[in-house]
Amino acid sequence: MSNILEVQNVVKQYGDYTALNNVSLQVPKGSIYGLLGPNGAGKTSLIRIINQITMPDSGVVLLDGEKLKPEHVQYIGYMPEERGLYKTMKVGEQCLYLAQLKGMPEAEAKKQLKYWFEKLEIQGWWDKKIQELSKGMAQKIQFVVTVLHNPKLLILDEPFSGFDPVNANLIKDEIIELNKKGTSVIFSTHRMESVEEMCDYIALIHKSNKLIEGKLEDVKRQHRTNTFQVGIVTNNIEGLMLQLTHKFTLNQTNFKSLNDDLKLEVHLGQYNSNELLSILTQFGQVTHFVEKIPSVNDIFIQTVSQ
């Protein structure tokens, strides 16, 4: 699969402060790509470079294999974290204006706008001013403005911040639908649950450097800790514990279960899971045996605090 976006060795400095230190990324076509990092990591700096708002000091950005040039703005839909609209401008005019700025002809913009207004059931808003709309309504318009010109690449900086749950869900569904139709999406966020749910790929930026990049499963595989959650119903707890502590490190844990069982978190260390299982089966009935997969949140915290 080819890449919709490639960032190669990008460096950006503001005075003495380095915002991006030799960062490279590959965003595959058709993926939903999570760009993670704590506040001030350099995410927004990178996104602004991709949007040609600022220029990198060195390094190259390729969009669909081509070096970034001014015409590329029409292929990108960008929803910044700091977002808003002209308060005194009418909704319809505003959307048309912003679409035309992206290089879309007026007639086509009108057609698209009609499509989206019908889809989100907001046909009656054309002549309203933004200041007359509620915050949730304005957010819908904000999303329409971002996707109106059929971008190949959507860049959403903290897309769900400020959205109420109903709208957030609606927008999420729309994003997934667009993605299915072939739009690639870059998410910049520190809300991990949405990453877990939606992203195929992730990259982690911390203190101006990229620390992790790859397919979500691959990243998780790399960060597996060889830990299993175990539940067992036994009447010889002491014997079991003796056996286990001999080989493994144990931790208390908790999970939902219908049985009155012993719940443990076991670090395998140098041994494999079958060895653990064979010990367990000697002492009673195993009711729970699951590898503990690191969540994106765990990976994030673990990597950042290293």
Binding site: G15, R48, G84, Y86, T88, Y97, L98, L101
Partner: protein, 432 residues
């Protein structure tokens, strides 16, 4: 449509649709005309008041020379004693002119006293002194054996004619008219810069506070956005000025017709031959003056300097708007912009009037920040071509530099929120 013209169009429409813009456009001329007539009315009310002034002149030196006028009445109190005259004047009259009895009439030149609790009006005082001067002069001459009537007859009042070396007739008051024209245009430019420069700044700040700016500049270059804003706003401004001129003119004509019609019962429909002649003479006069004043070069340079000056200053305004978060924060940066404008007007007023081609006037008409105003004040007097050319080149050169500079500040500033920048930080932004 190109991106730039899209932005210009939006800015123009946004300005023109703005309620305060509409109100100001149509109310502005009414306010100004109303104010003019209000002031005229006030001064006419003032005129109606008649002041009474007592005169105590035992020797009857001046008493016959004080003639009642429209607003001053004199009452001869010479028959009373000085104290009585003073008392009654201070009670009933505006003041008392006291002419003491002296041996030598010349002493009156310094001994005549005007007694009043209110300080006298300037023109009344001048008239009083003129009357005394004339009387004493006449007395003196007669004492020396001259017949004052003969001398009066022998007096000659000169009237110097104006001419040019080329042989044409010159015109009087030409300088005054030139000064008026120069000032009108210079002042117009200053007003336009301040009003519409501020508008540009406000519109930049609005985009910042609305947080739409980042969406816009992910589609267009900040430089284009800035230029579009400046041009769009100035077009709206020009439209407003045109409406003002048309509307103001119409109201002025209408109002003066109305006022005039009230005074002289409407006989205006029948214009007498004499009136017609006066009118044609007047038109001829205007025509003569028009020939003397370089109308074409004034208009052309107005456009050239207007565009240069307005763009120069609005770029500053745009940069300031980008650097701050709210209008209140803009004050410290606005001072250095207003200063040269004020300086230009004052320098123009003080130097161009006295000596349109003096060193100070020439220098200030070359400095780009003051040249749009000072040069326009000088142009009616005829400016050497090389100075004009140099001034234009300097103005547009600076304009390009300032736009470049402003665009840099603008580019960085529009994405900066939260803190009020210092001059030092602005300097740092230039290097990003």
């Amino acid at each position: 449509m190109s991106v730039l013209s899209l932005i210009i169009k939006r800015e123009f429409i946004a300005k023109v649709r703005n309620k305060s813009f509409i109100v100001m456009t149509f109310l502005g001329p009414l306010l100004i005309v109303g104010m003019t007539f209000f002031i005229a009315y006030l001064s006419s009310v003032n005129k109606g008041e008649v002041k009474t002034i007592g005169v105590h002149d035992r020797a009857s030196v001046f008493v016959n020379d004080f003639k009642d006028s429209e607003d001053i009445k004199y009452v001869n109190l010479s028959s009373l004693s000085y104290d009585k005259a003073k008392d009654s004047s201070s009670n009933a009259f505006e003041g008392l002119i006291y002419v003491p009895e002296v041996k030598n009439i010349e002493e009156l030149a310094t001994k005549t006293t005007y007694i009043s609790d209110d300080s006298p009006k300037m023109d009344f005082l001048m008239a009083l002194q003129r009357t005394i001067d004339a009387k004493l002069n006449k007395e003196n001459l007669e004492k020396l054996g001259f017949n004052s009537d003969t001398i009066e007859k022998a007096k000659i009042k000169s009237e110097v004619q104006f001419a040019k070396f080329s042989g044409e007739d010159g015109l009087k008051f030409l300088n005054e008219i030139k000064i008026a024209i120069g000032f009108a245009f210079g002042y117009l430019i200053m007003m336009f810069i301040i009003i519409y420069g501020n508008m540009v700044m406000r519109s930049v700040i609005e985009e910042k506070t609305n947080r739409i700016i980042e969406i816009i500049i992910s589609s267009v270059k900040p430089f284009k956005l800035m230029m579009g804003k400046i041009i769009g706003t100035s077009l709206a401004g020009i439209l407003q000025f045109l409406i003002w001129i048309v509307l103001g003119g119409a109201i002025m004509i209408g109002a003066s017709f109305f006022m005039g019609g009230n005074q002289e019962a409407i006989a205006t429909s029948q214009i007498t031959a004499e009136q017609a002649e006066v009118a044609t003479n007047f038109m001829d006069q205007i025509h003569l003056y028009m020939n003397e004043i370089p109308v074409a070069s004034i208009l052309i340079s107005f456009v050239v300097f207007f565009i240069g000056g307005y763009f120069l200053y609005s770029s500053f305004y745009a940069a300031i708007g980008a650097a701050v978060d709210s209008e209140t924060d803009s004050q410290q940066f606005l001072m250095p912009i207003i200063m040269p404008l004020m300086l230009a007007v004052y320098v123009g007023f003080l130097t161009v009037m006295n000596d349109p081609h003096g060193t100070v006037a020439v220098v200030f008409s070359l400095i780009p920040l003051t040249s749009p105003i000072v040069m326009l004040m000088r142009i009616p007097f005829g400016v050497p071509l090389w100075q004009l050319a140099l001034s234009v080149v300097l103005l547009y050169g600076t304009f390009i530099f300032v736009v470049w500079f402003a665009a840099k500040i603008y580019r960085v500033g529009i994405l900066m929120y939260g803190k009020k920048p210092t001059w030092k930080e602005l300097y740092k932004w230039l290097k990003y």
